[in-house]
C-alpha cells in the first residue's frame, strides 16, 4: 500500500509574499503519494496546530511535510503536533521556504519553493519511526577533589537528594584553602564538618581513581584506597580537581632568597609571631602568563592585608591589571588609596640578590625610566597549572584537555561545564583560572544539570536512532575510535558475535560514525544515506 503524505504550507501570516501559493499547491498535489495539501496562514499557532491534527486524523496521513520557516525554530513544535495526532514524531520533514527561499531572494520564487518541498517529500517517504523509552540511571554522583568547590558541590547535591561520594587523594579534605578563607572569609572547617555528618555524602580520602568504564547513568569506577580496591557505580562524574601554582623564576633564585608565593605570604600574614616584619614588599604578576585573574586577585588582597597588618611599603610590578571579577575594581581602587604603588612595565623585571634583600630592576612604562627597588620580601609571579592528577584523570576518562592542559574550555560550542561526554562535568580551577564568583556559578549550574539528569532515576531517550546492524557489523572498531562522545562499545549479540553497540543515553546523534563505517552498517534514522540521497535526487 502506498504511503500517504500530507503537505502543510504556511505563508507565515503574509510574511512570505513572493511565492504564488495557489500555483504551488496545485503543483505539489500532482506529486506521487501526496494525499492532501493544505495552506494555512498560521501553522505554528494553536488554531493552525489543531487544524493540522484533525487533518492528519481525517485523511489517515502517515507522513507529514511542513513547508514554512526554518526547522531551527519550529521542528520540535511540529513533532509534538504529530505525536498528538498519533503519529511518530520522526515521520516528519520540513522545507525551509521562508528564510532560505522567500527572504533570501528577490522576485518570484515559487519554483524554488516547489523544489524544496519536493526534496522534503522525497526524504519523508523513506523516514522510519524512532521510539522513545525511559532508561534507568544510577542516582549516585562521584565528585573528584576535596577542595572548596568539591565540598560545596557535594553539600548542594546532598541538599537536592542525590547521594555523593567525595574522592580525595590527600589524607584530609580542604587542604590548601587558606587563601580562600582569608580572602573571602569562608569557613571551610564548618563546611567539612557538615560533610562529615551528612548521611548522603561518603568521603573517601587517600583514594585514587584507577579505572572508569561505562557511560552516563552507568559509570563503574575502580577506586584504590590504602591498598584496598573499591568498586562503585555512579550516574555522573564531576571533576573539581583544582589547579596548582608554580613560581615563574629562574632556577638559581628559587632557594635562599626572600622570595615567596602568594600562599606563603598569606600564611605569614595569618601567623602572628613573626620575628621581623618585612618593611618593603614587592609583588609581580602578568608577565609570563596572561591568564592572571587569580594572581591579580591574590596580589590585591595580600597587598592590602600586609599594609594593614605590618604597615609595609608595597610595590606592585605588572604588565596589566585585569579587574574583570566582581569587586576587583573596588579592591584595586582601595589598594591605590591606601598607598600601594603600581608600576607598569612592558618587560619582565630583573631580579637579583642584594645583601640578603631582593633587588628588582624594571623599566617603568609611563616614566620611561629605570626603577631599582630593594625589598625585604618578593612575592614572585605565579603560573597557574592544572593540578597533578589532571593528565591521568583525563586519560582514564578519555576526555580532552585544552592547549594549557586544563580540561577543555576552548570549544565555544560546548557548554563550559560539560565535557564532550555526557555525564562528566567540570567545576572551578580544573578548567582554567576562575575567581570565586565564577566557581560558585559553576557549582550551581553543575548541580542543576546533574539534578535534571539523575533525580528521577530515569531518562527519556530515543531508542535506536543510531544503530549498528549486527548482520553487517564486522567489529572493525572504526566507529569506536572516531566517536567524539565515547558512546560506542563492543557488545555481544545473542549468537555470541561481537558488534558495535551504540548507547542511546550517551549518543549525541552527530552521524560521524554512520559516515565513516566501512561496512555501512550504521543507520542514523533521519539522516540515512538513502534519505540524504533522496533529497539530492529531487534537485
Amino acid at each position: 500500500m502506498e504511503t500517504k503524505i500530507g503537505v502543510f504550507l504556511c505563508n507565515c501570516g503574509g510574511a512570505i509574499n513572493n511565492i504564488d501559493f495557489d500555483a504551488a499547491v496545485k503543483e505539489i498535489a500532482k506529486l506521487p503519494n501526496v494525499t492532501c495539501v493544505n495552506l494555512s496562514p498560521n501553522l505554528c499557532l494553536e488554531e493552525g496546530k489543531e487544524k493540522m491534527v484533525s487533518c492528519i486524523k481525517d485523511e489517515n496521513i502517515e507522513r507529514v511535510v511542513v513547508a514554512a520557516c526554518s526547522p531551527e525554530f519550529q521542528e520540535h513544535i511540529f513533532r509534538e503536533v504529530l505525536e498528538k495526532a498519533g503519529l511518530n514524531g520522526h515521520l516528519f520533514s520540513m522545507a525551509n521556504i521562508r528564510e532560505q527561499c522567500s527572504w533570501a531572494h528577490d522576485g518570484d520564487v515559487t519554483v524554488k519553493a516547489g523544489e524544496l518541498v519536493k526534496m522534503a517529500i522525497n526524504r519523508v517517504r523513506l523516514l522510519q519511526p524512532v521510539e522513545k523509552k525511559e532508561l534507568p540511571v544510577n542516582r549516585e554522583v562521584l565528585v573528584v577533589g576535596g577542595g572548596f568547590s568539591a565540598i560545596n558541590t557535594a553539600l548542594q547535591l546532598s541538599r537536592v537528594g542525590l547521594r555523593t561520594t567525595l574522592l580525595e587523594k590527600e589524607a584530609a579534605l580542604g587542604i590548601g584553602n587558606e587563601e580562600l578563607e582569608s580572602f573571602y572569609g569562608f569557613d571551610t572547617s564548618s563546611m567539612i564538618s557538615a560533610v562529615e555528618v551528612d548521611k548522603n555524602i561518603e568521603v573517601l580520602t587517600s583514594a585514587q581513581m584507577k579505572e572508569v568504564k561505562g557511560k552516563i547513568g552507568d559509570f563503574s569506577a575502580r577506586i584504590r584506597k590504602e591498598g584496598e580496591e573499591i568498586f562503585r557505580k555512579y550516574g555522573a562524574i564531576i571533576l573539581a580537581t583544582g589547579y596548582q601554582t608554580e613560581l615563574a623564576l629562574d632556577s638559581e633564585l628559587k632557594s635562599g632568597l626572600n622570595i615567596v608565593s602568594q600562599e606563603q605570604l598569606c600564611r605569614m600574614l595569618r601567623n602572628s609571631g613573626l620575628e621581623t616584619e618585612p618593611k618593603t614588599i614587592g609583588f609581580m604578576f602578568d608577565f609570563s602568563d596572561e591568564n592572571s585573574r587569580f594572581p591579580t586577585l591574590a596580589t590585591l588582597n595580600n597587598a592590602l592585608a600586609a599594609k594593614k597588618k605590618w604597615g609595609s611599603e608595597v610595590y606592585v610590578f605588572y604588565k596589566s591589571v585585569k579587574v574583570d571579577s566582581e569587586g576587583m575594581e573596588k579592591l584595586y581602587q582601595e589598594a591605590r588609596d591606601r598607598g600601594v604603588v603600581f608600576l607598569k612595565c612592558e618587560a619582565r623585571p630583573r631580579i637579583t640578590a642584594d645583601n640578603g634583600r631582593v633587588k628588582i630592576e624594571a623599566k617603568d612604562f609611563f616614566l620611561g625610566e629605570n626603577t631599582i627597588l630593594a625589598c625585604d620580601l618578593l612575592v614572585a609571579e605565579e603560573l597557574l597549572l592544572p593540578s597533578e592528577g589532571t593528565e591521568t584523570l583525563s586519560s582514564l576518562l578519555n576526555i580532552r584537555k585544552d592547549s594549557r592542559g586544563f580540561y577543555q574550555d576552548e570549544n565555544v560550542h560546548l557548554y563550559p561545564i560539560a565535557s564532550e561526554k555526557k555525564g562528566i562535568f567540570f567545576i572551578g580551577g580544573c578548567r582554567g583560572d576562575l575567581d570565586l564568583g565564577r566557581v560558585l556559578t559553576d557549582i550551581s549550574s553543575v548541580v542543576m544539570n546533574v539534578h535534571e539528569l539523575l533525580s528521577s532515576g530515569k531518562i527519556l531517550v530515543e531508542i535506536e536512532r543510531v544503530k549498528a546492524d549486527p548482520q553487517k557489523c564486522v567489529a572493525c572498531l572504526t566507529c569506536i575510535r572516531v566517536c567524539p562522545h565515547g558512546a560506542i562499545q563492543l557488545v555481544r549479540t545473542d549468537n555470541s558475535k561481537e558488534v558495535a553497540g551504540i548507547s542511546d543515553l550517551a549518543c549525541y546523534a552527530c552521524g560521524i560514525c554512520a559516515a565513516i563505517c566501512p561496512a555501512k552498517a550504521i543507520k542514523f534514522q533521519g539522516y540515512r544515506d538513502e534519505e540524504i540521497l533522496a533529497q539530492i535526487e529531487a534537485i
Partner: protein
C-alpha cells in the same frame, strides 16, 4: 549522469552553517537562487558518496559547510569533512572531472556574511571552470 541543472548543493551543519543561512535570509543578503541546502547534523555526516551523487544528479558545485576549526560541536566532525572534501577532489581529478568544484568552508552560526562570501567564491570558481 544527468545533464547539468546549474544547482549548487550545500551540505550545512545544523549547528553553524544552517543557522547562518537562516540569518542571511533574515538580513536579506542575496545569494544565488540555484543554491539547494541539505541539512545535516554535523559536517562529519557528509560522506564522499553524497558529494559524488550530487554531481551525478547534475549539480555544478558542492559545498560542505561546517563549524569553525576547533569549535566543532562534535569535536572532530569538521576536520573529517575537510579530509573527505580533499579526497573527493582527488577522485574527481582522477576521473578527469576536476572542473567540478567541491569546497569546504568553516563558519560560525552568527556569520551570514561569511556564508554569502563562501557562495560567491564558489560561483566565481564555477565561472572560471567555464560552466
Amino acid at each position: 549522469m544527468r545533464s547539468m541543472n546549474g544547482h549548487i548543493v550545500a551540505f550545512c551543519c545544523e549547528h553553524s552553517a544552517y543557522p547562518a543561512a537562516d540569518l542571511a535570509g533574515k538580513l536579506r543578503l542575496h545569494y544565488p537562487e540555484s543554491l539547494r541546502i541539505i541539512r545535516v547534523p554535523c559536517a562529519g555526516r557528509v560522506d564522499v558518496i553524497h558529494i559524488l551523487k550530487a554531481f551525478e544528479n547534475g549539480a555544478v558545485a558542492v559545498l560542505v559547510l561546517g563549524c569553525e576549526d576547533g569549535a566543532c560541536h562534535h569535536i572532530t566532525g569538521n576536520t573529517r569533512a575537510k579530509e573527505r572534501v580533499k579526497y573527493c577532489n582527488m577522485l574527481l581529478k582522477e576521473i578527469e572531472a576536476d572542473g567540478r568544484p567541491v569546497a569546504m568552508f568553516n563558519l560560525s552560526p552568527n556569520e551570514p556574511h561569511k556564508f554569502v562570501r563562501a557562495l560567491n567564491e564558489i560561483t566565481k570558481r564555477i565561472k572560471e571552470s567555464g560552466r
